[in-house]
């Protein structure tokens, strides 16, 4: 789960990483606290979990209270890439003229099967962009879990991006602290971008990213309630997560349900091959029963523009008759194209054919049929 900037900064600060002085507000009136708490100029930052927030207008600056009063209502309640802005982080604006912007981050490296530390002398921009256009500005290090991430590793990286003397030490120290956050919070990603380094050697984390491994939330009960309902997900995605289903919203009009992530991905691919557009990815998981299947169908059906549904079941642990019962119980009301094989195949087929459904044995045929049905349905409208 992604944490909001202000919460990530709270945590960073607890670990000794300097962050700007700030307040968090969720209504206009609270904005009056700027007076007491902060010095102008201030940055007003929409707390939404989307990338490119700055470019999308989610970050504004105010030189005075009057200006802040004008900006706050504009930001609160605005929509940023589909997400309503409900909270603002208001913080003292860092002086960027006498400072450099760096990047510090930790991530899980799938290839080296280790944690990787990345430092860059080009902060404030997308690190992938820097990696493409100016790879020399980036220093990377794969952490040996036996040795851990030590100050001397951090110093080496800090030096590699061109720092020296006390600045080198300061950035190294902050980097180790960020590693501590990353490890303590089961981070998938911990990032400061930009890390401001002033001419007189002070550092401030102007932005803060902390993505916590959802699977580790049992160790972080303070976040566990949010893990499933984080605003990074759409409403349907949240509903599916709460029901224990793996679901991803997609822009098409053909619903897809299958068992097993690989099989569902393959189902999407085949559908696309036949020029169908998937409305979603939905994996009911291994061993789903009639109730799970009914729930899956009900979620897929909540999208008003779904024209047909492609169901692709290869029964291993999953029993075909359970799936069939789930379909029949739901009675979707739009065309369903079912492909079903494996455990209790015969019973499943019988239940479906008895209720007027056709069952395919081959997934290509079933996908093709779903595409045609959706087309017919669209044209029939």
């Amino acid at each position: 789960m992604k944490l909001h900037e202000y919460r990530a900064k709270e945590i960073f600060s607890q670990f000794g990483i300097p962050v700007p002085k700030s307040i968090v507000i969720d209504n206009e009136n609270e904005g009056e606290a700027i007076h007491k708490e902060l010095e102008f100029p201030v940055a007003l930052k929409a707390q939404v979990l989307v990338g490119g927030r700055g470019k999308a207008g989610g970050i504004r600056f105010a030189e005075s209270m009057n200006e802040a009063r004008r900006i706050i209502p504009e930001l609160l309640g605005m929509e940023l890439k589909g997400h309503a802005v409900r909270q603002l982080l208001i913080e003292e604006k860092a002086d960027l003229i006498h400072a450099r912007e760096l990047y510090v981050g930790f991530t899980v490296n799938r290839k080296s099967r280790s944690f990787t530390c990345i430092l860059s002398s080009r902060g404030g921009v997308d690190i992938e962009e820097v990696a493409r256009e100016n790879p020399g500005a980036i220093a990377r290090f794969d952490i040996d879990p036996e040795v851990g991430f030590q100050q001397y590793h951090a110093r080496k990286l800090s030096k590699q991006i061109g720092l020296a003397g006390k600045k080198m030490l300061k950035v190294a120290a902050i980097t180790v602290k960020l590693y501590d956050v990353f490890r303590a919070y089961d981070g998938e990603l911990a990032e400061i971008n930009p890390l401001i380094l002033t001419d007189d050697g002070n550092v401030i984390a102007v932005d803060a990213v902390l993505n916590i491994d959802n699977n580790a939330l049992f160790r972080h009960p303070e976040f566990s309630s949010e893990g499933k309902t984080s605003e990074e997900f759409t409403d349907l995605e949240k509903e599916a997560r709460e029901a224990g289903l793996a679901y991803v919203d997609l822009p098409g009009d053909i619903g897809i349900i299958g068992c097993g992530a690989g099989l569902v991905m393959a189902s999407l691919d085949i559908l696309k091959q036949f020029n169908g557009e998937p409305a979603n990815f939905l994996d009911v998981g291994g061993g789903a029963n009639a109730r799970n299947m009914a729930k899956a169908l009900s979620i897929v059906l909540k999208k008003p523009d779904v024209r047909s549904i492609f169901i692709n079941i290869f029964g291993g642990i999953t029993k075909c008759d359970e799936i069939a019962r789930g379909i029949v119980d739901t009675a979707p009301g739009i065309p369903i194209s079912v492909r079903m094989m494996g455990t209790n195949e015969e019973e499943g087929k019988k239940i479906l054919t008895d209720n007027g459904y056709h069952v395919y044995e081959n997934m290509e045929d079933s996908a093709k049929n779903a595409v045609e049905q959706a087309k017919a349905y669209r044209e029939g409208l």
Binding site: V108, R110, K111, R113, S114, F115, E128, R132, P145, E146, R183, D186, E188, D213, N215, A216, F218, R219, A246, V248, L250, G258, C259, G260, A261, G262, L263, V264, M265, A266, L268, D269, I270, L271, K272, Q273, P278, F281, D283, G286, F314, G315, G316, I317, M341, G342, T343, N362, M363, E364
Partner: protein, 287 residues
């Protein structure tokens, strides 16, 4: 022959007293896997079917050589580290939803001790007719000369079913696991299948996320002489979304199906457009 497991493998089931552990232990025994014991801390002295349950490995009279883990995610790290310290090999971690920091520790400790970890979040491994350490439906597999390496579960069964029906049995089939960090990568297994005299052809089933397929492609060029047929799931997947498997996500510019297919094609690996195409392509290559 087969790789990693065969009929001499003596299996202990960790987490045998849970629902999944019980169910699949029965399936393993049915299949003929030599399950010598179960372990559930605190339940030593119980029985699951005919199998004795112990608190820890050193109490087991007939020393196991390998472990399959069904322990719930919060306790899986401890279970796997215990198996590794005891020297069991392979350690097959079926458990899903293990924190990634835990998986890294498991994988790291295993590599220090030169032990094979399969998974986490894997359907397991099967050497048809010899030994099964996994949760796959046994009936779709049959003994033969095809080595299969996959990042997926159900999709593998689908493909194996097709292969078996087309008369192409399997030497060993392995699910790497659907998580971003898993114990084995394609290359580890390509090497073994290349060496295995009874494997004639290899099927590689990849999916979006990471770059294991690209690395495999690079490796295949110089090192693999046996025919390899690949399939990559997730061409239609959007960026930045986890597609069921924690590891199936296109992020930070890497992991797209297109890049993987290109890399494999460049390495002269034929990539099937649909799972159903695989048997025919493989038959051509083996002909």
């Amino acid at each position: 022959m087969s790789i990693i497991i065969d009929d001499s493998t003596k299996v202990v089931v960790q987490g045998i007293t849970g629902g999944q552990g019980r169910f699949h232990t029965e399936r393993l025994i049915e299949y003929g896997t030599n399950v010598v014991a179960g372990v559930t801390p605190g339940k030593g002295g119980e029985k699951v079917g005919e199998i004795n349950v112990y608190d820890s490995f050193d109490e087991i009279p007939e020393k196991p050589t390998a472990s399959i883990i069904f322990v719930p995610a919060p306790f899986a790290r401890d279970a796997a580290l215990e198996a590794i310290e005891f020297g069991l090999d392979p350690v097959v971690v079926i458990t899903e939803h293990i924190p990634i920091h835990d998986s890294l520790e498991i994988v790291h400790r295993a590599s220090k001790k030169n032990i094979v970890v399969i998974g986490p979040n894997t359907p397991g491994i099967i050497s048809p007719g010899k030994c099964k350490m996994g949760v796959m439906p046994s009936h779709v597999f049959c003994p033969g000369t095809i080595g299969l390496i996959s990042r997926s579960g159900t999709l593998t069964y689908e493909i194996v079913d097709d292969l078996s029906k087309a008369g192409m049995g399997q030497s060993t089939a392995i699910g790497l696991g659907g998580d971003p960090i898993v114990g084995l990568n394609f290359i580890d297994l390509l090497v073994r299948f290349e060496r295995d005299p009874d494997t004639r052809g290899i099927v590689l089933i990849g999916e979006i996320g990471g770059s294991a397929e690209e690395e495999a492609a690079e490796f295949i060029k110089g090192h693999i002489t046996k025919p390899v047929i690949a399939y990559i799931a997730g061409r239609a997947a959007p960026k930045g979304k986890t597609m069921g498997h924690a590891g199936a996500i296109i992020s930070r510019g890497t992991g797209s199906a297109r890049a993987k297919i290109e890399a494999l094609s460049k390495a002269n690996v034929r990539v099937a457009a649909t799972p159903g195409e695989i048997p025919a392509l493989l038959a051509e290559e083996l002909a």
